[in-house]
Symmetry: C2
Subunit: 585 residues, 2 copies
């Protein structure tokens, strides 16, 4: 037996296996995941495993290594989040999101830091040795909402799109602020005196970290798109480039102390549309599938490790400090959301309701990022207290808030995501309005989002597409692309319906379809055609059948980390088509 | 700048990126890969890079770490080989393959070892300090044909299926022999005296290593199949299990000093048919795609590293030893093939021609496995000589033999792979003959391959399928499965043809199809149907159209590491259908 030789890959594989099997286990019992979020279950599994390891070895189980977390576990999740980010609501609310992410996070950091410092002044609590700087440092790591935790909970409760993107976008973009403040306070802690220059440098640094991240991400994204122009003869390695370039963007940003999360998101959003156009359909399926798979596994591992790392002797317990940390986290976030939303609502017509505000405040979950950051703190005598407080905050937010948020959403009747995707009519209407508004903004001289969007679109079609796309002859409108997609999907469904018919059908033809492509549109007509149909009759039939047979499928930006869009539908739709056929015969 | 922090993943990513870009680069110039095999080009890139590193740093570039090779680079390639292994020719020729792999390899090891020992006795060569055991040890690592090198060359020359599987199968299965002999001689080298017991233990060990590998592989394979029964609700992690279980089988086998290559191949071949039936179509595309991608990258990296590692000061040059090594490698292999084939041909009706024998002997390429094994040798004073000899043998076989084998195949007019896949008629015929031969063997009491195949099939459908498959109602015959696949493919093509028609078609309907599913078969009929067609006319039409529209597509076991079957065809086929339609209108 030679275990040493294979130890590293063997243990990694076993951990991933454990995570995957745990996932399967939960989904075998359908009732469990509908009550308890998966993240809680996974932490619970981790706690049990940690307990077993602790019991057997009689020493603390290994804590999650911060390097492993930041270098290997976090990037897949963020990449997935960025790649499948619904870009329209994101850019529509970018102002609000940035306000929450930047000002809100700063507010929380200082709020929590100063008020905890206040608590430390109470002599009875015996915390007077915790300095203001240390409290602020702790505030900077505990203030940031965690994208992994937010995603894990919010993807299951299906709140309306705007609410979702506000919480989710904030959790992603606050990384830049967290990085800056955390590093700033950590270096302040080690400095003998702090000059005002350093503070200003910190403010300047924020812009460097955030915008630098965007820049690094976009340049890698465009390089990726450019590279996929040349993969026509060697399709199998296409998916690789998507992963390699985005990972490189993350690592490069981390290397220069920029925000890796911001970089990888910009990279993914930047390359998506060009890469999709360049690579083959199968490559794209692989990219999507693998991204989902990877992020799903990463996220499972993170929560399990979180549970395992909780067990052990890393904690110093101090009731007042820990309790007040939890309370301040809740209070300052609530206050921050209230104040910021007040200003946001004054500038917008489409306001954020008080119910939505409550969910935004309540959805401020903390997770593995705080946990990794607290272990990265330089050693000082109260580090274990900070670890304990962070662990309690994470467990509190994930378990208590995570488990109660769904009933609360039900109770408050928060506006949900619309179940049906927008119809083609609606989509055309939206597109038309966009152009109209861009025109109005241009004429009135108000450079709003529509103006910039239009300019960007122009720049894109004029320059970027020519450089980055392989076959650039004329831009296909998204309506045409949608039609092509539907057509392809429908064809597959027809084939499947034919198979489904084996059992039900009488020996003659049951399922029959008539694919008819006219020059500008492709619709499905029935078989009952005369030998020489005149064009009018044909058009009429096409229309009737288009109405009956096509229900425009979901094309909306439904985000779910564990399923790919339209994963389970085909059989149902095929059945529906079968029934419709049956009637028409 | 904080490079240390991200160094490991950054450098790995960069190496993979380099490999992928090199691959794209070669395929941009279509002429190059048709003359020089990709493996040679990659080694050449590696040599240049090694030279640059050597020139800049003034010390030897890092050699390929044997652990990295065996733990991370080799498994994907072998997994891919096992998963896409054409099982019919493999099992039909399993006896011959095993003979070549076991007896042939032993023959080569002892042949090369003893004759090199003979060379060492010549005083003029100053090699008298190389003992017999060291020569045998060297023989055991240099004798084995390398699957990676063989694949890289043979997939480009398209020899007939039997010849391909003979060389390829041998290169895979000789791993068990290599492992045993290499470890045996290495331990002998360290022993003071060798007892005859140890020799017998070595012989017994061979069966343990080989059969143990098969057993480990099959058990992991069946566990994988069993696991995928329960992934219905969580499709995205399905592909993961294929990779995790096969990797675990490899690592487990390595841990117990069994043959990892044999294990992973058994695992892949064992799970394939059940996993394919259990997982969704998209998951399966992802599995196939990712396997190809991974093995493609691994193989690229191996050849680049091989080139890089060649540069440096690891070599001790001794003309006679090195030249005779190359000569003995060629001579003993040729002799072995001749002798073994003589016996094989006496037992078989379908003999191996002398041309095929020549290619088998000539196709005995050495590669990265030898290279890694020679670096794993315990330190002794002539290790650098062995490294030099191994490097020369590898470069000689890959460059000289690899580059001349294609012209030789052309020159000798070796029987090529048939271009067209077998028709459905042929397939039915083969199936029928199988049953017939199984019956004859059963009656005559001769337990040949057909008898065992039949028994295995019975066992499979009686027990295995019930346990391992999710939806086990009735076994679909492969003809039905083929039809379903064709139907699906055809539907997609129709949709694409509709799109293709945009440019060509006149405004009325150009592309029209009529999918008609009767209870037992699904064929495509034309549009010109009367309103109430009588069954005879319908049948007739179905037949005509089935003949005209369907050309049975390749379903054969064409093996290529860099492309997935049917990757580039669809558009052409769609065009063909369009043209046929055009005529019929």
């Amino acid at each position: 037996l030679d275990y040493q030789h294979v130890q590293v890959p063997f243990e990694i594989t076993l951990w991933i296996m454990l995570a995957s099997l745990a996932k399967i286990g939960f989904h075998l019992y359908n009732k469990l995941p509908s009550v308890v979020p998966e993240s809680c279950l996974l932490i619970f599994v981790g706690l049990i495993m940690g307990g077993i390891i602790y019991g057997l070895n009689d020493r603390s189980p290994p804590v999650m290594d911060s390097d492993i977390f930041f270098l290997y576990l976090l990037p897949p999740i963020v990449l997935d989040a960025g790649y499948f980010m619904p870009s329209r609501p994101f850019f529509e609310n970018i102002g609000t999101i940035l306000l929450y992410a930047v000002v809100g996070t700063i507010w929380n950091v200082f709020g929590i830091g100063f008020s905890l410092y206040g608590i430390c002044q109470v002599k009875a609590f015996r915390l007077q040795d915790v300095s203001l700087l240390h409290n602020l440092l702790f505030g900077s790591l505990i203030a940031a909402v965690d994208p992994v935790a937010v995603l894990a909970v919010f993807e299951e409760i299906h709140v309306n799109e705007k609410l979702h993107i506000l919480v989710f976008g904030e959790s992603l973009l606050n990384d830049a602020v967290t990085v800056v403040l955390y590093k700033l306070f950590r270096s302040f802690c080690e400095m003998p005196t702090i000059k005002s220059v350093d503070v200003f440098a910190g403010v300047g640094k924020f812009f460097v970290v955030g915008l630098g991240g965007v820049l690094v991400g976009l340049s890698f994204g465009f390089t990726a798109a450019f590279t996929t122009r040349f993969t026509k003869d060697i399709r199998v390695i296409e998916p690789l480039f998507v992963f390699l370039y985005s990972y490189l963007s993350y690592l490069t940003a981390e290397m220069f102390h920029l925000s890796g999360i911001v970089a990888i998101i910009s990279c993914a959003m930047g390359m998506k549309r060009y890469v999709e156009a360049n690579i083959s359909l199968k490559s794209h399926t692989t990219v999507k599938y693998f991204m989902k798979m990877w992020s799903s596994v990463s996220d499972t591992l993170i929560f399990i490790f979180l549970g395992v790392s909780t067990i052990g002797e890393n904690h110093e317990w101090n009731w007042p400090y820990i309790c007040f940390t939890v309370i301040f986290c809740l209070v300052w976030r609530a206050l921050g959301v209230l104040v910021l939303t007040f200003f946001v609502n004054r500038c917008h017509v489409n306001t954020i309701t008080s119910k939505d505000q409550f969910i935004i405040a309540y959805g401020g979950l903390r997770g593995a990022i705080c946990f990794s950051l607290v272990f990265l703190l330089p050693d000082f005598h109260r580090k274990k207290l900070f670890i304990a407080a962070t662990t309690v905050v994470i467990l509190f937010t994930v378990f208590v808030q995570g488990m109660t948020i769904r009933p609360l959403v039900d109770l408050l009747a928060v506006k949900r995501k619309r179940e049906s995707a927008p119809t083609v009519g609606e989509q055309i209407h939206i597109r038309f309005l966009d152009h109209l508004l861009a025109g109005i903004e241009d004429i009135s001289g108000h450079w709003g989002q529509y103006y910039w969007k239009d300019k960007l679109e122009y720049f894109n079609s004029k320059y970027l597409q020519k450089i980055l796309l392989r076959e650039y002859d004329q831009p296909k409108s998204s309506i045409v692309l949608l039609y092509e997609k539907l057509e392809r999907k429908h064809a597959i469904e027809l084939a499947q319906a034919g198979q489904l018919g084996h059992g039900l059908a009488h020996p003659s033809f049951l399922c029959s379809a008539f694919l008819c492509s006219s020059s500008d549109r492709t619709v499905i007509t029935d078989q009952k055609l005369e030998d020489t149909p005149n064009p009018d009759v044909l058009d009429n039939m096409q229309e009737i059948l288009a109405r009956n047979l096509y229900r425009i499928r979901r094309t909306g930006p439904a985000y779910n980390r564990h399923t790919l869009p339209g994963d389970s539908e085909p059989t149902e739709q095929a059945k529906e088509i079968l029934i419709l056929r049956h009637k028409s015969l």
